[in-house]
């Protein structure tokens, strides 16, 4: 059994999943990549949208989640936090 992810790790996984798909992703792909239940994924995406880290767009009548600049900055900050935390064993 894997180690339980913290909230910021889940957020990082969601944002990097969108980033790896070129900054826009279908909800079904995100569900698969984030490794969350549908309900949990909607909760997290809702929170990220309220914080302007993720946006929502329509493409050919289908919903897409997009990565905002704030979301991209969070990914950079998270990498630093992870490095800091690992270096000091926190």
């Amino acid at each position: 059994m894997g180690v339980r992810r913290t909230k910021i790790e889940i957020i990082y996984d969601i944002l990097t999943a969108i980033q790896k798909k070129g900054g826009r992703i279908k909800p079904t792909h995100l569900l698969y990549k984030s490794n969350l239940s549908y309900k949990k994924m909607l909760e997290y995406v809702g929170e990220l949208m309220s914080k302007d880290m993720v946006g929502e767009e329509e493409e050919k009548g289908k919903k897409m989640y997009t990565l905002t600049d704030k979301g991209a900055n969070y990914i950079q900050e998270f990498k630093k936090i992870k490095e800091f935390s690992d270096s000091f064993g926190l």
Binding site: K80, I81, S87, F88
Partner: protein, 228 residues
């Protein structure tokens, strides 16, 4: 009249300010980044970690401020002429020096105690109480001997070094190696400080190795913060 705390040979007066200022900058930088991480994650360990390095910076500032009155040239000039006035000035300077150094030592011990508790992930309140008890005892003894202060720090640095060595063996990253190395240097510096009463130049050696330790930490932090 009681004695002032003066460190090392006279040619080193003032140079140690520069060395200690580097430690202040490193302490504040780590504290700031750890606090920022706390704001991001809301995890208390980052707040405690930030507090410990902030206190390290405060301790070094206290030490610098405490030694200024006794190192200052103005004081030496005034001792040539007005004997009674000089005596009053010296008394005040010595009092300020002793008070400042005592505060610096207490704050430094508290800082590294917090760092130890965070690094060892101690959460049991009974163990924390025991640590605080030992800190109170060592602080009481610190007023009588600088050796107890540096010996306490030496033990703390030793435990922290072993902890960061384990972390490096687990993570195997360059930055964790830098953190481990910096605490090894801080440990070695404390060995010099313990014996500074025997050999005057050990203070210079201790300060130099300590500076290297904090510079290594600064380099590690630079690598983390500039990571793309």
């Amino acid at each position: 009249m009681s004695m002032a705390y003066i460190f090392g040979p006279s040619w080193f007066y003032g140079i140690d300010y520069v060395f200690d200022l580097v430690s202040v900058i490193v302490g504040l930088l780590i504290s700031y980044f750890s606090y920022k991480t706390y704001r991001y994650t809301s995890q208390k360990k980052y707040l405690y970690f930030a507090s410990s390095f902030f206190l390290v910076a405060i301790a070094f500032v206290s030490k610098i401020l405490a030694t200024i009155p006794v190192y200052s040239k103005e004081l030496q000039v005034e001792t040539v002429g007005l004997v009674t006035v000089t005596s009053q000035i010296i008394k005040k300077a010595v009092w300020a020096n002793q008070f400042g150094i005592s505060i610096a030592r207490l704050v430094m011990l508290v800082a590294f105690l917090i760092l130890l508790l965070v690094a060892l992930k101690v959460k049991d309140k009974k163990i924390i109480a025991l640590f605080v008890y030992f800190l109170i005892i060592s602080t009481t003894l610190v007023s009588q001997s600088y050796i107890v202060f540096h010996l306490t720090l030496l033990i703390m640095m030793g435990i922290l070094f072993l902890n960061y060595k384990c972390n490096y063996l687990k993570k195997k990253s360059f930055n964790s190696k830098l953190v481990m190395s910096s605490f090894f240097l801080l440990l070695v510096s404390q060995i010099f400080f313990v014996f500074e009463g025997l050999v005057e130049h050990f203070y210079v050696m201790g300060e130099s190795v300590q500076l290297l330790g904090y510079l290594t930490l600064l380099f590690a932090m630079g690598k983390m913060l500039l990571k793309k």
